[in-house]
């Protein structure tokens, strides 16, 4: 098996935490992993992405080729669209619906939604509203990951186990909240 994932968002939105959980789940299965990240200047409110590759065979390139991504997971809808040249023909886009507007020329939200609608397999989920309604503002990224679980083709229990491992040091309450966030994401992906 081989799954190529692009994680997209704006600096500070927590895409690397999503990558850490998926990476941990892959490690637990003894799979090969490569995860390229963006550090440095672009983390200051610019667009950021991480290329995450998981495979049962050795992986060569740290970067995913054009048309190669099986899943794009985006914390922000325009950031999902930024990487559509990398999306495979049958690839999934799992994206948050709330725009993050920190630039003066952010496109019309309707245009963003229309562009998303042109892609074949899209899950749009209002993670901010769900996080707020469930009093877990810091777990919006885990809600998104829950919504992506099926597209990732990953056993949900493995993702849960990875959440337990990664958040263990932060205490039971945080672990439970993030587990619940995963469930909420899975249940609300429409």
């Amino acid at each position: 098996m081989k799954t190529d994932i692009i994680l997209a968002g704006v600096g500070g939105q927590g895409i690397l935490s999503i990558a850490t959980i998926i990476g941990q789940a892959a490690l637990d299965q003894g799979l090969y992993i490569k995860q390229a990240e963006v550090h440095g200047m672009s983390q200051r409110g610019g667009d950021v992405q991480s290329n995450l590759r998981i495979s049962s065979d050795p992986i060569f390139s740290d970067l995913i080729p054009l048309g190669g991504a099986d899943v794009i997971i985006a914390m922000e809808p325009m950031e999902a669209l930024r990487y559509q040249p990398y999306l495979s023909k049958e690839g999934w886009v799992i994206t948050a619906t709330s725009p993050f507007v920190n630039i003066p020329n952010y496109p019309d939200v309707e245009a963003v939604n229309a562009s998303l609608a042109k892609l074949p397999k899209v899950v749009r989920i209002d993670i901010e509203a769900l996080a707020k309604a469930n009093k877990m503002p810091k777990a919006a990224n885990m809600i998104l990951l829950g919504a992506a679980a099926d597209a990732l083709g990953m056993d949900f229990d493995l993702l849960k186990a990875a959440v337990r491992t990664v958040f263990a040091a932060k205490g039971d309450a945080i672990v439970e909240m993030n587990l619940r966030a995963l469930e909420i994401g899975r249940e609300n992906k429409g």
Binding site: V10, G11, G23, L27, Y32, I33, K34, Q35, A36, E37, V38, H39, G40, M41, S42, Q43, R44, G45, G46, D47, N51, D57, I59, F60, S61, D62, L63, I64, P65, L66, G67, G68, M78, E79, L81, R82, Q84, P85, L87, S88, K89, G91, N102, I103, P104, N105, Y106, P107, A111, V112, A114, S115, L119
Partner: protein, 540 residues
């Protein structure tokens, strides 16, 4: 034991396991995480005496590492590629003195300039200095090459340059690491103490020794476990149109990405230099056409043109088979190999750029707001910028900077511009950049009483690389006074919107002063402020 590590972290762990005694570095993307990993490791190993404090700049780092080597111990020097320019004097001469304890100089290049002002290829420095160069192709090699590199350095008595690129530095993979670490070297005297004094007569002897050692470097490259010919060329004799490919560093990964079951032509994977000439000449004798896949500048390609007979056709970055600038990726390599793209969707028209910006609440914002207010009344004004988060002041909404060249250039360029007649000439420099390379330029300005206004925007940290300690924290007034800045023209302000009237008044006064003024807007970086608050909450 297996660990998921960034390329940078694999280097750090490899160095620790190879008997490292000290890391010396100035933060710079994409090299910063090496030193940070060693610092974190030392926190968890309180009995360790491995040196791990940040240095003031890359030159002080290189020299301190050379001192540790003189004393017989192993040292690692880390920097981003442009740091090589800063430490070049010490670096090149360290090849002439040679080393006692092993020295690895780690240069992290940034092709495509993700976080840099150029994309120079550090391998040229290694060739220039006549020393071995290692270029790992993956995270495992990053780890393995540290022990290998220190051994090579100690065997040849030369520093070894290790060159990585952003995509390796900042990508994670599972790395097999050793259960045990080698011990550090004991203190020892250098074998050739006179050779460390590079007076001309001795330097000539040492330089001749360095040249005489070159065949050993060739031999080491030819026999390197990291250089290999894959797919025996003999197996391809019948393939009329076959070419051979030379792939270096991570270029090898992008090649193999396209042929996961093995390439249908011979491949020379290169990860150690100098270029093993015999290996390359043998390959070229059998294959007229060679494609060179190397990330960075055409280092190997240019050498091949000089080494191989003119009958050979060499493809690469120079003939346009690969782009002349920018990093390699699976797609431009795929195209160079003549394979079709798998792209299914074109770029989306709706998407616009989202450039990085100064954080909301950042003190640099108040500095630029004040500067713009005051300079609106000075149509001839020019503001010379420097390297750091505050370089973003060149972009909207402030558009307040007219230059950004290299560490420290703000002060010296403002001085030169003032010499030429520009008024007002203003320098904006960060605290860490000022101690890195701004102090000497300020002394030049003081000695000539140049009419410049220097703004040292002090956020108490090295911000852009993630908030590392800044060498001059709490010392800036003393440094400026010591360099001769007059007390009455050395002002400290707190860059907050509420203080705008005071800041603009002081700026106006100091611009009107026809000599050197230094204004220090001082407020902690909001990123480190938030981090310190979190640490305090956790009781750290």
């Amino acid at each position: 034991m297996k660990k998921l590590l960034l390329g940078d972290q694999a280097i750090a762990q490899g160095a620790l396991d190879a008997g490292l005694s000290g890391v010396y570095a100035y933060p710079g993307t994409p090299s910063t995480e090496i030193t940070e990993y060693i610092q974190e490791w030392c926190k968890h190993h309180p009995t360790s005496s491995v040196h791990n404090r940040w240095c003031t700049n890359e030159k002080t780092a290189m020299e301190a590492a050379l001192g540790m080597s003189y004393a017989g111990k192993r040292a690692l020097v880390c920097m981003k590629h442009v740091g090589m320019n800063v430490c070049a004097d010490a670096f090149v001469n360290s090849a002439v003195t040679g080393v006692n304890g092993g020295v690895i100089v780690l240069a992290a290049d940034d092709p495509s300039m993700h976080s840099s002002q150029n994309e120079q290829d550090s391998r040229f420095y290694g060739k220039f200095a006549l020393i071995p160069i290692l270029e790992p192709s993956n995270q495992q090699e990053c780890y393995d090459m540290m022990a290998y590199g220190f051994d090579l350095s100690e065997r040849l008595h030369l520093p070894v340059l290790m060159r990585i690129v952003t995509r390796l530095a900042h990508s994670r993979a599972v790395v097999q690491i050793s259960e045990t670490a080698r011990p550090e070297n004991p203190l020892s005297d250098p074998a050739d103490p006179a050779g460390w004094v590079l007076l001309p007569a001795r330097a000539r002897r040492k330089y001749n020794e360095l040249i005489a050692a070159q065949p050993l470097l060739q031999e080491s490259s030819a026999n390197s476990p990291f250089n290999k010919v894959l797919n025996d060329p003999k197996d391809f004799k019948d393939l009329k149109d076959s070419k051979a490919v030379i792939a270096t560093g991570i270029g090898y990964n992008y090649l193999m990405e396209n042929y996961p079951d093995g390439a249908p032509f011979p491949v020379l994977k290169l990860s150690q230099y100098p270029l093993p000439q015999q290996v390359v000449t043998d390959l070229a004798a059998q294959y007229k056409e060679l494609l060179v896949i190397e990330d960075g500048q055409p280092f190997i390609e240019e050498q091949l043109i000089g080494v191989l007979p003119s009958a050979n056709v060499i493809h690469g970055r120079l003939d346009g088979t690969l782009p002349r600038a920018g990093e390699l990726n699976p797609d431009n390599v795929k195209q160079a190999l003549g394979l079709p793209s798998a792209q299914a969707f074109t770029s989306c028209d709706t998407v616009v750029g989202r450039p990085p910006a100064l954080c909301q609440g950042c003190g640099h914002r108040s500095v630029y707001e004040a500067l713009n207010k005051v300079l609106a009344n000075y149509p001839g004004s020019h503001v010379f910028g420097d390297i750091g988060c505050y370089t973003l002041g060149a972009l909207p909404p402030y558009q307040a900077l007219h230059s950004c060249v290299d560490m420290g250039a703000s002060i010296t360029m403002a001085k030169g511009a003032a010499d030429a007649g520009i008024f007002p000439a203003i320098a904006v420099i960060g605290d860490s950049t000022f101690t890195h390379s701004g102090m000497t330029g300020l002394l030049d300005a003081v000695n000539e009483n140049s009419p410049i206004t220097v703004v040292i925007s002090d956020n108490l940290t090295t911000g852009m690389t993630g908030g590392q300690d800044s060498a001059g924290t709490n010392k800036f007034e003393a440094i400026c006074r010591g360099l001769g800045v007059a007390d009455e023209h050395l002002k400290v302000v707190v860059p907050l919107p509420a203080n705008m009237d005071e800041i603009t008044r002081i700026l106006r006064e100091e611009i009107e002063y026809k000599g050197v003024s230094v204004i220090i807007p001082r407020r902690e970086c909001i990123q480190t402020f938030a981090r310190h608050a979190r640490e305090k909450k956790k009781g750290l």
